[in-house]
C-alpha cells in the first residue's frame, strides 16, 4: 500500500496520537510481566519486598541468581533442545514426503488416505492421553525422550501435510515434468524442486513446530520420571513446587528458559512476524 492511499485509512483530519497512545498502553501492559521477570531476576527477596517496581542499582545486581538459574535449568534446556530440534526435523521430513505423495499424483487410494489424515483433525488430543500413556508403557518408552519425539512428530503430521500439500500443488507442473524427462527420481525432485521452492513455508512450519515443542509440558509431565531427562516444561513445574521461593533465582531461571527462543527470534524476526501472519491466513 502506498503512503498516499494509506492516509485515507486513518480518518482525515484526525491525529494519529490517540491511537498510538492506546496501542502503546496496551502493549506496555502486555510486556509488563516480562519487565517484572527481568528486573526481579537481579534482586533477592528482601530487595524485592522493599522495592518491587523499579530495577535495583546495577552495582548491587545479584548475578548469582543467574548462575543458579543456569546450573538448574541448563540440563533441562539441553534436553529440550534435543527433543525440539530432532522432533521438528523428523516432523518436517516426513511431512514433506507425505505431502509430495498427495500433491504429485492422484494415486489409487490417495483419497482414502487423505480423509484418514483429515479425520484426525476432529479427534481431540485430550481423549487420547490416557491410552497414549499405557501404549508408551507397553512399548517401554516411558521415561525416555524418544517417546516425546515420536508422539510430537506424529501429532504434527496432519497440520504440516495439510499446509505443505496445498503449497506443493501450487508449484508449476512444468518443473516436475522437465525433471522427470531428465530422469530425476521422485526423491531428487523433492530435493531439487520442492525444498528450494518452499523454503519460507517450511521455515514457518519449522518455527511453529519448534515453539510448540518448546512449550510442551503435559506429555513430559506424565512420561518423564528421572530428573536427568526432564525437559523445560517439567523442570519448571518442579521448580515451582520444590524450592522455598527465592523469586530472584526463579525469575532468572525463567529468563534463561526463554533465551534460546529469543536468539532464534533475533535471527529470523521477519520470518517470525511474516510467518505468523501467513500461518494465520492459512488457518
Amino acid at each position: 500500500m502506498s503512503g498516499i492511499a494509506k492516509d485515507s485509512v486513518g480518518a482525515r483530519g484526525h491525529r494519529d496520537w490517540p491511537k498510538h497512545a492506546i496501542v502503546g498502553c496496551l502493549i506496555l501492559v502486555e510486556l509488563f510481566p516480562l519487565y517484572m521477570m527481568l528486573q526481579v531476576s537481579f534482586k533477592d527477596n528482601a530487595e524485592f519486598i522493599n522495592n518491587p517496581w523499579l530495577p535495583s542499582n546495577p552495582a548491587s545486581w545479584h548475578w548469582e541468581n543467574w548462575a543458579f538459574g543456569i546450573r538448574l535449568i541448563g540440563p533441562y534446556i539441553a534436553n529440550t533442545v534435543f527433543v525440539a530440534v530432532s522432533g521438528t526435523a523428523f516432523s518436517l521430513c516426513f511431512a514433506i514426503l507425505g505431502a509430495y505423495f498427495f500433491a504429485r499424483y492422484k494415486m489409487p487410494f490417495s483419497g482414502v488416505l487423505w480423509s484418514a489424515f483429515l479425520v484426525l483433525m476432529l479427534l481431540p488430543s485430550v481423549a487420547n492421553i490416557v491410552p497414549l500413556f499405557t501404549l508408551l508403557k507397553e512399548l517401554s518408552l516411558l521415561n525416555t525422550l524418544t517417546a516425546l519425539i515420536a508422539v510430537g512428530v506424529a501429532g504434527g503430521q496432519v497440520f504440516n501435510i495439510f499446509v505443505l500439500r496445498n503449497f506443493i500443488e501450487e508449484l508449476p507442473k512444468d518443473l516436475f515434468e522437465a525433471a522427470e524427462m531428465d530422469g530425476a527420481s521422485h526423491f531428487q525432485q523433492i530435493i531439487n524442486i520442492v525444498i528450494p521452492m518452499s523454503g519460507p513455508i517450511i521455515g514457518t512450519l519449522a518455527i511453529l513446530a519448534f515453539l510448540g515443542k518448546w512449550n510442551e509440558f503435559l506429555l513430559p509431565l506424565i512420561v518423564l520420571r528421572d530428573k536427568e531427562l526432564f525437559t523445560l516444561g517439567v523442570g519448571l513445574i518442579y521448580l515451582d513446587g520444590e524450592y522455598v521461593k527465592q523469586w530472584g533465582q526463579i525469575m532468572a531461571a525463567y529468563f534463561i528458559a526463554s533465551l534460546p527462543l529469543i536468539v532464534i527470534f533475533l535471527f529470523c524476526m521477519r520470518l517470525f512476524v511474516r510467518g505468523l501472519s501467513a500461518g494465520a491466513i492459512k488457518g
Binding site: G3, L122, P124, V126, I129, L132, A150, V158, M251
Partner: protein, 316 residues
Amino acid sequence: MAFPISRQKALREWRLYLFVLPSLLLVATFAYFPAASAIYHSFFDWSGGDTKQLIGFGNFSRAWNDRVLWGAFGTVGILILFNLFKMIPAVVLAVLIHRLKSERWQYAYRVLLVIPMIVPSLVTLFIWKFFFDPNLGVLNRVLDVTGLKHVLVWLDGRVFHWHIFLENVPVGWLSQPDLILPSLFIWGFPWIGAVGVLFYLAGLQSISTEIYEAAELDGVGSLGKFFYIELPLILTQVRLNLTLLIIATLQGYGLQLLLLGETGGPGGRGMTPGLWMYNRAFIAGEFGYACAVGMILFVFILLLTLFNNRYVRVEK
C-alpha cells in the same frame, strides 16, 4: 490439484507409497491406536494394568451421576464466556494498528506484539502465578498502591457481603474458592493474543482504500467504519478464532493443572472436564473411567465441530 494418473503408471510408481508410509505409521500408532483404545477401554473397569473387567456402560452411567464432571462442564462454560470477552482487546488493537498511517510504526508494533510469544507459555503462566501470590504478588500490590483495595473492601462490607476482601488481609487469589473464577478471568490481562492480532491484521489488509474513501465521503465516523467495514471483513477470522478458542477451552486443562493443582484448586472451583479426566487417570488410577470421561468430552467437541461446519461456515 494433483495429476490424475493411469493405473499402469500408478503400478510402476508404487514406490511413491513409501513416501507416505512413515507419516501413516506414526499417525496410526500414536493417534489412531490410542483413540481406538480409548473407545474400547471406556467399557472396562481398568486401572492401567493387565487386569480389566468388562462392565458395559458402567463407566458412562457413573459419569451420568458424577456431580464433579457436570460441575466441571459448568465451569468450562463460564470459562468460555470469559474467553469470548477476552477476544475483544485483540480485535480493537488490530483495528487501531491497522488505522495507523505510518507503516513503520505498524511493523514496529507487530514486532512488539510477537515478543511475548518468544517467552515460553509456561513461563508466562508461572509469572502470573507469582502475580497472584498473596504476600509478594504484584496483583495485591497494585490494589494497595492504587487504593482499589479500599474500594473492594468497602463494596464487600457494605454492598455484597462476600467476606473475601478484608482490610489489612492480603487477598488470597488462588486460595479463596470464590476467587478462583475471577482469578482465571483476570489471568492474562490485557488479553492480547499476538497470533489473534496478527491474524486480524492480515484480514484487515485486504480492505481496499476505496471503501474507506467512500465511507469518508458519506461521513461515516470511526465507530461506523469499525462496524460497517472492518468488523464484517474480519468476521471470518473472528469466527475461526472463536471456534478454535471454544474447542481449546473445552478440552484444556494445562492452565488449571498448573495454577490450581490436580484437584482444581480450593473447593474444586477450577475443575474442568479435561482436568477431571487427568485426575481420575493419574491420581486415582481409574483409567477406564478416565477413558469414558474422555469419550464424553470428545462427543461434545465433535458436536461443536459439526455444528460449526454447518452453521458457522468459513468462507474462503
